[in-house]
Amino acid sequence: MSGPPDLDALRDRLRGADGPRFWRSLDAVADSPEFRDYLASEFPAASRLAAAPDRRGFLKLMAASFALGGLTACGRDGRDYEVPYVNQPERVLPGVALSYASNAVFDGYGNGILVTTRNGRPVKVEGNPDHPWSRGGTDILAQASVLGLYDPFRSQAVQHLGRPASWAAFNGAMLPQMAEWRQSGGKGVALLTGPITSPTIAAEIARWRAAYPDAWWFSGSARDGALEGARRAFGRPLETLPDFGKARVIVALDGDFLDLGPGQVGLSRRWIDARRAALAEGRLLPLFSAAPTPSLTSAKADDAVPASGDRLDAVGRALLTAAAGGAAPEGDDPVARWTRRASAALAGARGGGIVTAGLTASPDLHALVHRLNGQLGNAGTTLGYHAPVAEAGAGSLSDLAVAMERGEVQALIVLGANPVYEAPGALDFAARMERVPLKIHAGLYYDETGAHADWHLPLAHPLESWGDVRALDGTAGLIQPTVSPFYNGHTVQEVLASLGGTDEGMDSLALVKRHWRRDGEDEKAFEARFDEALRMGFFPGGAAAMEAVTVLPSPPAGGAGTAAAPTPPRDGEGSSVEVVFRPDGTLYDGTHADLAWLQELPKPLTKVVWENVIAVSPALAAREGLVNGDLVRIEAEGRSVTGPAWILPGQAADTVTLGLGYGRDVPDHLSRGLGYDAGDLRPVATPWRLQGARLVRTGQSRMPATTQHLGTLPDDEEGRAILRTQVPGGAPVGDKPGPPPSFYPPPESQDRWVAAQWGMAIDLDACTGCNACVTACQAENNIPVVGREEVALGRWLGWIRIDRYYEGDLDAPATHFQPVPCMHCESAPCEVGCPVEATLHDSEGLNLQVYNRCVGTRTCQSYCPYKVRRFNYLDYSGGMPPVTQQQRNPEVTVRARGVMEKCTYCIQRIADARIASAKDAHAPIPDGTVETACQGACPTRAITFGNVADPESRVSAAKRDPRNYALLGHLNTKPRTTYLAGLAPQGRKA
């Protein structure tokens, strides 16, 4: 777009009859000539190639490439040797997949996973369907953890003052220290950890503290605010566990339960199960959301409204007043109207409502929500409360900073945390750390804290070590190694036991067993119990018990902290804004910022890759004359950060959102120099919100790379919408059953197709846009990362993209997600175009892509109406570090430069099942045997895959759903992938 958005014109267009119903961006709504040109160009990804050489140069280049291209065929490919085992381990067979149950660790919390190994190498993570919390789903961090294991940026050696050292040297250096600590009782020794849910680590910390009774333990957690809120309401910190199955209405204040976090997988599944059950009864389980900035939770809401952080606290109070029999809030602004609707819905479902507050909500709002649920009779019915799963340290990060400032800390031991990066800028942690005489850091990476420490110790990756971890509901899971440690890393419990002098020569496994062995338990019985838990991945029956709660009397009205003081407007340039801080949509807190898969994963809402943006509302952008990519400076209390502005529909008007996890500063690491560090601005007292900041234009501009317009589909025409929404109980919006009318005779293949016919159904109501499928596909199918510049050219390579659409009003739109893999059309247009038959159909209905035949004309890409084909413009796979190549799935071809690729429906998994059935007397492949990577990863089971020729299969049942429709079905491509329309409430306001 050439200028700042003309908001009024856009709003008119959206309201008028000629505006689009579903839109992806403001540019699309504006429908400017530049945007039309972009869409009309046949190969947006090649647009800049054509401009480069002149005709003569082009011919020279082609001649040279032709000659050299011939030479490349001369290279020997593959290895020329065979290395058998000396002693073949039991069950390890060359090329055969072997799965281990384990747990993925997300900010200290666990999710059940199954790790697939091939040839002794972990190559893929699947969900553990038996795990009581995660129930077979995974998130992007679990999927990407397999790349983290092979990450060449991982810390590979003990370092002392920045020089390579050894564990022996470290242990030697610690001996006199430990003697000293034992004498002083550990006075002045501070231990800092992240959230600790691991029972073994907690036990080792207890032992360590028993060895040094005067030592301190500090731990920081993103859940501190929520627990503080529970403490204010109930008198003790408690976790809240919603039981969506019993709910008739859900109100989410400030998002969170569907958002990326330790609870995402388990809560998303519980939510969608309840929503599906409600639909089966012909009703909607409505989700109301009010939040200062859009999130996945607000995107899935049936009634969402943007409300600034201040306003949100007021909304909470108004809901409480109304629930207590007071008057509903007055006013005619959108938030007041929303509050009345939510309040009425909650009042109509007393004892059957759920009000939740996101992790980033203020403790006050959490306390208000607890009181509100108590008032509505929800507490104890739809909401359970249990003791926190994470062990609480004696103090927080800021307590530690204060102690360091006072010079009270003589030794600082940081285990698995990175406070120098994570601590709010105001704490100035790095400078304060300098006052500590002895600093020890153990981490997966030699990060900012490692660089400031005297000793850095490499930790082992969860995929290569023993351990345990608890899920958000308290289920204790075991972590088992799937490969020998690469870099001689040790686990947190080993380091603790060694520093406490309590290890008794035990390794990680022995320490885990030491914790789990009950007193007086028979050795044999324990081993059997442990082995069974190891096989399942968790100890059964470990979920935390629910506790009865009573709400404390509320503090006197107008008491401290209830009413935020209005910020005095200050003079100066720019706008006064409220700033909210949010974990990044793909990196979360930045711990895994070196994982290129996460960097190149489009953020769920902005679709920006490789950096964080400063999200502003359309209204603020119009007032300040901002367009996407304009660099703006956010100033507060003498500090500032600068980043590109991004106009985010659904953002509260005067609120800007800063994303965490970027602005890393570790030399030579992938993440260095990407984005800005929002932590610089974070206040200590309210880590998620900052009042009274100023937004100032810098006059410069740098457009972030985004996949927002990748594969934009033609605008909807009469009744043939790209997206459809179904009102429960309303007229069905799906396609009529039976073949669509055609001038052509039915394909002769009908009678030929006697084998399994593969097809897919994607439930748009269940898709939360979490991206787990995209990362799973990348891991399964050896999809390389292309880099920021290539993405900016439109060459993002993912096989499944998640299109994000907005509907309705610019300021408070409804949001929809639509995953788009290859449709495997029965009448595939791409096959017509290929001059060398590199793409063609097989008798099971798969649209094949034959890499070794493809000559790269890209005709198929231009013929594909769904824009799901991806071209290897460069040799993206070639330059990967050897260690990262170990992650590749040996069952999938690594594509070379110059070939087209696309979703194959995981043909390697189909082939496995087909061969197994062929050997087994040709029994039909049972339904559910073939699970595509995207399907297996999905926490909400939105994707169903199977044999559509079998009327009994689950995918056939899904396709009989009256919500089932084909994307661009009027083109008569007969796609095998179809969609189930998302649900919408009756008469959603536009």
Binding site: D77, P94, R853, E891
Partner: protein, 233 residues
């Protein structure tokens, strides 16, 4: 500017012959050679590419020790599956671990110099590194188990291994080789008992037996088996 005429040329040059009478013949010869080269070079190139020199067919590479299939399998009659354990169950037939060699050679020929690498490997826990004979491009996926359970014998691809003193590649595994069989599988199908017979030759009644076997094994015909997705993923 004056370009000059023939009359202006120095005397002597006006009548001199620029080309000798044979020049035309040489010119034609060169032209014909060029045309011949245009045809011959690709033919020669194709020949070289298909030659055993390039494909390695019939060439036994050096190995860490001179293992003889002829001795073990042919003369002693050890079954293929004793060492290649994966062949009926997995994609890969598998190269035996050193442990398999030592099941016998810890008892017999225990002092043989020839077997020193095996003993060293076992004692030092260092794998033997064999030179690879049979190789497919990275985009081709072959599964041993489905072939042998469907009546395709070892020797159909690997040749008569039992007659090889030093093992060599019997066939260049080019696409043509795979397709010949996938187009008409019945020509190479054997009864289950014959799968491990290295000296198998199609019996006289293969023309009638083959289709019956194909039906019994549920082997689908050429149309299905030549679909790209069968081998390429």
């Amino acid at each position: 500017m004056d370009n000059g005429t023939a009359d202006d040329r120095p005397p002597g040059l006006a009548t001199a012959q620029l080309f000798t009478p044979g020049a035309d013949a040489i010119y034609r010869l060169v032209l014909m050679t060029l045309v011949a080269c245009l045809v011959a070079l690709p033919v020669l190139g194709a020949g070289i590419v298909r030659s055993n020199y390039v494909t390695g067919v019939g060439v036994a590479p050096s190995q860490p020790l001179p293992f003889s299939h002829k001795h073990h399998s042919g003369e002693l009659g050890i079954d293929c599956r004793y060492c290649h354990t994966g062949v009926e169950k997995e994609a890969s037939a598998g190269i035996p671990p050193t442990h398999t060699c030592m099941t016998c050679h810890s008892q017999i020929w225990t002092g043989s110099d020839m077997l020193k690498p095996v003993r060293d490997s076992y004692a030092q826990d260092k794998p033997l590194v064999w030179n690879r004979l049979n190789k497919l491009p990275g985009y081709v996926y072959f599964n041993h188990s489905v072939h042998v359970t469907k009546g395709v014998g070892c020797s159909s691809c690997h040749g008569d291994v039992t007659s090889m003193q030093m093992t060599y590649r019997a066939n260049a595994f080019e696409m043509q080789f795979c397709l010949d069989c996938h187009r008409a599988p019945e020509k190479n199908l054997r009864t289950p008992a014959e799968v491990w017979n290295m000296e198998w030759k199609p019996p006289a009644d293969q023309a009638s037996l083959g289709p019956k076997l194909a039906e019994r094994y549920h082997v689908r015909g050429g149309e299905r088996l030549t679909e790209c997705g069968i081998c390429h993923r």
